[in-house]
């Protein structure tokens, strides 16, 4: 499809190079619109199923329009004694927020040290941090569970907070961001003025890297909000995160889809809204991190 589209533009570029400017083949738009539809339809599907009664899913042809049953469906999820939806929501908010604050603080601080301070072993240590990104999460799962059991933290949300308090990706991203946004002269000036390094970080670096830190915050929050493997291993449906709740109701009430989807809609809404409102910044952050890596 695209090869065709690209080939058709070639004569234009060859004969009149300025003719290419401002003109994009309709195939490009058709392709991208298709991709967008495929990306967005499943989310619309959630919305439709969550707002209709059960018959919507059992009919042989798909239902395209939403209905008015959402509150009915959602209250069913809340009424079940074994589904701790709000508890999961609150736990998810606590876990994601605590981890995000910690990751942003430790990453900006370490990123500043790696970017602007000179110390022995700086490059080697940075390399070590990059290598730790290669260690997969599943590798430490079993002993981690044992450790949490020893500390009495199995079924406790601290078990899903502690291991994620710092992030190698975060340190790397903030190092790159500090390198590109904080000029050396500014650091030098602060030093001449007798600033301590901590003061430099607090009043010179932090204000400059704030946009990058905000992106890191959003990405960290998203990642924590969506974690499943470790929370499932160490938490219980009685004191869950939202994802553990979702997993639990999907296998406990898999016949009552309208209820499951109503809960699902509420669970995914915060991040969908975040992407809608901050999409441009998030995409900028993802793309920036990619090029510099």
């Amino acid at each position: 499809m695209t090869t065709q589209a690209e080939v058709t533009t070639v004569p234009a570029t060859r004969t009149r190079r300025r003719g290419r400017v401002g003109r994009t083949s309709p195939w490009v738009y058709i392709g991208l619109t298709l991709v967008s539809l495929v990306s967005l339809y499943p989310l619309y599907f959630v919305f439709v199923i969550a707002t209709r009664s059960m018959d919507a899913l059992n009919s042989p042809t798909p239902t395209w329009l939403p209905g008015g049953e959402f509150f009915n469906n959602f209250s069913k999820a809340l009424e079940r004694d074994n589904v701790h939806f709000w508890k999961g929501m609150i736990n998810s908010i606590i876990v994601s927020s605590v981890v995000t604050v910690s990751v942003v603080l430790t990453s900006t601080l370490a990123g500043f040290a790696f970017a602007k301070l000179k110390f022995r072993g700086r490059n080697v240590l940075m390399l070590v941090i990059l290598l730790t990104m290669m260690v997969p999460t599943q590798l430490g799962l079993i002993p981690l569970w044992g450790m949490m059991q020893q500390w009495g933290l199995v079924y406790d949300i601290w078990a899903v907070i502690l291991p994620f308090l710092t992030s190698a990706f975060g340190v790397f991203l903030m190092r790159q961001y500090t390198l590109s946004t904080v000029p050396d002269e500014l650091i030098e000036a602060a030093r001449v003025d007798g600033c301590t390094t901590f003061r430099m970080w607090y009043s010179v670096v932090l204000p400059s890297v704030a946009p990058g830190a905000a992106v890191l915050a959003l990405l960290t929050f998203m990642e924590q909000w969506n974690n499943y493997l470790w929370p499932r291993a160490v938490l219980s449906p009685e004191n869950p995160t939202l994802q553990v709740t979702l997993g639990y109701i999907s296998y406990t009430y898999y016949t009552d889809y309208s209820m499951v989807f109503a809960a699902l809609l509420v669970a995914i809404l915060p991040l969908i809204l975040a992407v809608l409102f901050f999409g441009k910044q998030i995409i900028g952050g993802i793309m920036e991190g990619a090029v510099k890596a």
Partner: protein, 328 residues
């Protein structure tokens, strides 16, 4: 910025009035600050990684040489059994089944995913494209949807009377039993679809970032040399994109070979067996089954963990060599 640098100037004007010993102490302190505090600032990362990353990693290796009961270690102390867990792996049909599923789903998901991501990135890379932000946000949306939610959504869409069978019916393909008994292909395709739905757009954005970083004049000279768009892609874009493509594919390998949530939820999530006949049980699921469901097999689970880690390393190196060769 001007505001933030202003306060520190005040003490400087007072400095000459300070007596000599105090000044010397300040110089010493600031030298100490410059020497020591960088280490303090990077310390939190290393402390957390040492406790929750490095130690468990080696502890897993250690456990893999034992017959280990995780839940009941006090009354059932671990017994050293050497390489027995690894030997057991070699002759365990469930292990090889999990291996086959892991690679099957991985290949089925990753190859179309990277090809599509490359294509979408190329489409988004058109200069003067309108509604750029809309398209970018649209393809990022799936990635913001949690994996459990994606699992439930696709589980529903792949039902017998679901949207996907309806759409296939439109082009004359009869209803497929996506949770079919015995047919692992249907499971693999369904799970691979979920993975691709969630990750293709994200990878396209990263590849797009790589494309945007390619200097424009390379294309201009290619056009002058008479290269068409296809030729431009293979002689300019792809070679220049090599580092980004390497990054994307290695992340896909690390994530894809550890696949867990999608197949678990797709098979209703109550067990981690991946279907009645273990049609889509991956290595991570099998590790989980051995150590987090039946805790007394934790040593064996640990051995599976390490075998998977070694596989990831081998696959990453292989991928690195492959990409280096093709892009030459």
């Amino acid at each position: 910025m001007a505001l933030t640098t202003a306060p520190p100037q005040a003490p400087q004007t007072q400095q000459p009035e300070q007596p000599e010993p105090i000044r010397r102490r300040r110089v010493l302190l600031s030298r100490l600050d410059l020497k020591v505090s960088p280490y303090l600032y990077i310390l939190p990362f290393f402390v957390v990684f040492a406790i929750f990353g490095a130690y468990p990693m080696f502890r897993t290796l250690y456990m893999s040489f034992f017959d280990w009961d995780l839940a009941n270690a006090r009354f059932d102390p671990p017994v050293f059994i050497g390489l027995d867990n690894y030997k057991r792996m070699l002759s365990d049909p469930y292990y090889w089944n999990a291996m086959r599923n892991t690679f099957g789903v991985f290949l089925l998901a990753t190859i179309p995913q990277l090809a599509l991501a490359l294509l979408i990135a190329a489409l988004l890379n058109r200069p003067f494209l309108k509604a750029k932000t809309f398209f970018r946000i649209a393809i990022l949306m799936p990635n913001a949807t949690s994996v459990t939610a994606v699992g439930i959504i696709f589980l529903t869409m792949f039902k017998d009377t679901g949207v996907i069978n309806w759409a296939l019916g439109l082009i004359g393909i009869g209803p497929i039993d996506w949770h079919g008994d015995g047919g692992f292909w249907s499971y693999w395709v369904a799970v691979a679809t979920m993975v691709d739905w969630r990750w293709t757009g994200y990878n396209a954005l990263i590849l797009l970032a790589g494309m945007l970083a390619i200097p424009r004049d390379l294309y201009e000279s290619a056009v002058i040399d008479g290269a068409n768009a296809w030729r431009q892609f293979w002689s300019v874009t792809f070679p220049m994109l090599r580092p980004t493509f390497l990054f994307v594919s290695i992340v896909a390998i690390i994530g894809g070979l550890q696949l867990f949530t999608e197949p678990v939820i797709y098979t209703y999530g109550y067990t981690v067996r991946g279907g009645d006949q273990r049609e889509v049980q991956t290595l991570t699921m099998y590790m989980y089954e051995n150590s987090m469901v039946s805790f007394n097999n934790a040593g064996y689970g640990a051995a599976i963990s390490w075998s998977l880690f070694l596989l990831i390393i081998v696959a990453s190196i292989g991928n690195f060599l492959l990409i280096r060769r093709t892009a030459r």
